[in-house]
Symmetry: C2
Subunit: 355 residues, 2 copies
DNA sequence: CAAAACGAGTAAATCGATTTTTCGCGGTTG
DNA sequence: CAACCGCGAAAAATCGATTTACTCGTTTTG
C-alpha cells in the first residue's frame, strides 16, 4: 500500500543479537555498558545497533524490575506559572537521571488526587512528587503510606512523619512582608487567602501576624479566608469592604496569601475605583510575569521554584536509592519584591472614596 | 523490620488465578469483560480480586500490543496559561478513554522536540499531540512521518499533508481585531510578534493587514517581528519607538501577535510613561486571567483551548482506531474581547509626550 | 599437576499480563 | 457408534527486555 518502509516492526534486542551473531544477553550487557564483553563483540553489537536503528524499549526494560524508571508528579493544577514551572523543572530533573516524568493534575480535588495516586501505583512508579491540594494529612498521603510508596511532598506542606517535604519558607517571607508594611506605617492591614486547610496558609498568616504585632502592637489585622473556591472569597471580600469593617475605617494595605487572592483583590479594587498604592497597598504571595508590567507593578513574594524542585528530586532519588533515616522537612527561602503597589498610607489623599 | 504489611509484592494475575482456582487466562478475560466465562467462575475471580486488592498492571498489560495505551503530548512550554490549560484538557480527555498522558516540554527548542519524540517512539505511544515550536515543517514532524507514528499537530500550524491539524483561527480573529481598530479610527498601527517562523504568526499578520487595508486603504501598518527570544523583540521595539519611526509620528495602536509580545509592549509603555488607551491602544493575541483585573483591562483574543484540545483528541483517536483518509485541517474560532486598553485616538491629548 | 578461579558468553527463567492453541466433555448427527 | 460441534477453560506462546545459572576455555594457585 501507501506505506513504504515506515510500518514494519521496530527491531528488538533479538534482531540485533542475530545480526551481530551473539546472544540477546550480550546485547543487553553492551547496552547497559557492562565491561565484561570482548571489545570485538561489543563493536559488532554497536554496529548492528547502528545499522538497525535499535533503541531499548523502556517499557520492556522496566518489566523485570520492581521499581520502574518512572516518576509521578501530581500538581493541584497546571494553569498557573508556579506549577507550570514546577512541572517543567521536575521533568528536566527526572530526565537527567534517565527517568520519565508522568505528570497529572488533581484539579484541586482530594478525591482525584487519590485516584491518580492509585493509578501511579499501578504503574509501579519509582517515586512520586506530590503537591497536595490541602496538606500532608489528605487521603493521598495516607494511600502512599499504606502502600509503601516512596515519595516527596511539596508546596502546601510543612512536615510529615513519613515523607520528606520541601516547600517555600512561607513564614519567614510573610514576616518580611510584615516588616515592610509596618515599616511603611501601615497600621490596619487586611489579609486574604484561599484554602483555609492548606498547610501553608496558616504558616503565612501566623508568620505575618506574629511579626506585625511584635513590631507594632497597635496594628489591626483583619482576616478574610475562604475554603477552596475563588467566588466565595470574592463575595466575602466585597462584603468586608461594604461593611466598612467597623465604622468607616478601611485597611491601608492588603496582603494576599495566594495568587488567586491577589487577582480577586485587584478586581475588587477596580470595581471600587481604588488605585494602588494611593488608595490602598497590595502585596501578594506568588509572583507572576505580568506583575512587573502593569501599572502599578504588583509587589509579590517570589517562591524559589527551582530550589524546591531541585531539593524535592534530590530527596526523592536518595530514597529511591534506599536511603534510610527520618524524613526531612525543608523550607526554601523566598524573595520579597516590593514594587509600586506598596506605598505609605496618608501620603496622598484617597481617591475614589465617593461611590 | 519496621515495614509492616506495606512492602510485600503486589498481587499478580497468577495470585488471583490460584486463589480463584482458575487459570490466569480466565482472570484476564474476566478483567476484560469477555462474556465467555461461566458466571460462577467470574464471581470467584471477582471475589479474589476484591480480597487481594488486585489491579491490572497497565505496563505489563501493554507489553503485548503494538500500540500502548499511552498518548504523548509535546508543548513548547508549560508556564503559560494557554499550554497549561491545554495539557490539563488533553490529560482529562486521554484519561476518559483509559489512556495515560505523558506530557513533555520542548522548551521552545526544535532539537529537544525531536529528542522527546524519539523517546516517545521508544515508549511505543499510541499517538502524539504535538504543538511544534515553529510550524509543521520542523524535524519533529518529519521524524513522526519517517517512523509511521500517528499524531495530531496543534497550535502553531495551519495544515499538513501527513497529519491532522487543529489550531485557532488566527486569520479571522486578526481580521476582527482589524475591524475594531479601524472602526475606532486608528490609522497608524504597529504589529509586533515573536516567532517569525511560527505558522500562525504569518496568518495573524496577513489576516490583520488584509482586512485593515480593505477597510481603510490609507492605514499605515508597521511591523516589528523577532525570532524566538523576547529580549531582541524588546530591543527592536525600543528602537522603533526611539526612532519615532518616520518623523515624529507614533502609532495610535499596537497589536501584539503573541502573549509575550503583549508583556513586552506593556513594559515598554511603562518605561515611556504612556498609558492605555489615552496615549496608545493595545490588543494582544492570547488572553490571560490577569488581563481583566489590571487597569486598564487589556483587550485580547481568546483562544478556544477546550475546542482545540477536544478536536485534536477526537482526530487522534480516530486515527488510532484506524481511520483512513486525507488529513484534515481544523480552525477553531476565537473570541475577541475588546477591553479598556483600546480607545479611539485623539479623544484625549497624549500624555507623557515629553521625554 | 590437579584444582580452583576467572573471563566471556549463552540458554533459560523471569517480569505480568494477553492471545492463540489445545484440550476435555457433553450433546448432536449421520 | 463413530465422527463432529461447540463451549468453557487450561496450557503455552508472546511481548522485549534483564538476570540468573551454567558452560567452556584459559589462567592462576596450592
Amino acid at each position: 500500500m501507501a506505506h513504504r518502509q515506515a510500518q514494519q516492526r521496530r527491531p528488538s534486542i533479538h534482531d540485533v543479537a542475530s545480526r551481530a551473531g551473539v546472544s540477546a544477553a550480550t546485547v543487553s550487557k553492551v547496552m547497559a555498558g557492562v565491561a565484561t564483553v570482548k571489545p570485538e563483540n561489543a563493536q559488532r553489537v554497536l554496529d548492528a545497533v547502528e545499522h538497525l536503528g535499535y533503541r531499548v524499549d523502556p517499557l520492556a526494560s522496566d518489566m523485570r524490575r520492581a521499581k520502574r524508571r518512572i516518576i509521578g508528579a501530581i500538581m493541584p493544577e497546571f494553569e498557573s506559572e508556579f506549577f507550570g514551572q514546577m512541572v517543567s523543572q521536575l521533568e528536566s530533573l527526572a530526565e537527567q537521571r534517565g527517568y520519565t516524568l508522568v505528570a497529572a493534575s488533581s484539579r484541586e480535588s482530594e478525591a482525584r488526587e487519590k485516584e491518580i495516586l492509585a493509578r501511579m501505583h499501578d504503574w509501579r512508579v519509582a517515586g512520586v512528587v506530590l503537591a497536595p491540594v490541602r496538606n500532608e494529612h489528605g487521603p493521598a498521603a495516607a494511600f502512599m503510606k499504606a502502600n509503601g510508596m516512596t515519595g516527596v511532598l511539596i508546596d502546601r506542606v510543612l512536615s510529615d512523619d513519613a515523607f520528606d517535604t520541601v516547600s517555600a519558607d512561607s513564614a519567614s517571607a510573610s514576616a518580611e512582608v510584615a516588616r515592610e508594611l509596618i515599616g511603611k506605617r501601615h497600621r490596619h492591614i487586611l489579609v486574604i487567602g484561599l484554602g483555609e486547610q492548606a498547610a501553608t496558609v496558616r504558616a503565612r498568616l501566623d508568620g505575618f501576624r506574629a511579626t506585625a504585632l511584635k513590631l507594632a502592637p497597635d496594628v489591626r489585622i483583619d482576616v478574610v479566608l475562604a475554603e477552596t473556591d475563588v467566588e466565595p472569597l470574592r463575595a466575602q471580600l466585597r462584603d468586608y469592604f461594604d461593611r466598612g469593617e467597623g465604622g468607616g475605617e478601611r485597611p491601608t494595605a492588603v496582603y494576599s496569601l495566594f495568587l488567586k487572592g491577589t487577582l480577586v483583590a485587584l478586581s475588587e479594587f477596580r470595581r471600587r475605583g481604588w488605585h494602588c498604592p494611593n488608595d490602598i497597598s497590595l502585596v501578594g504571595f506568588d509572583d507572576a510575569e505580568w506583575m512587573q508590567v502593569t501599572w502599578p507593578a504588583i509587589a509579590a513574594v517570589v517562591q524559589p521554584v527551582r530550589q524546591i524542585a531541585g531539593h524535592a528530586m534530590e530527596a526523592l532519588f536518595a530514597r529511591i536509592e534506599g536511603e534510610e533515616g527520618p524524613p526531612t522537612a525543608r523550607l526554601e527561602p523566598c524573595k520579597v519584591l516590593m514594587r509600586e503597589s506598596v506605598g505609605s498610607p496618608g501620603n496622598v489623599p484617597h481617591s475614589g472614596d465617593r461611590q
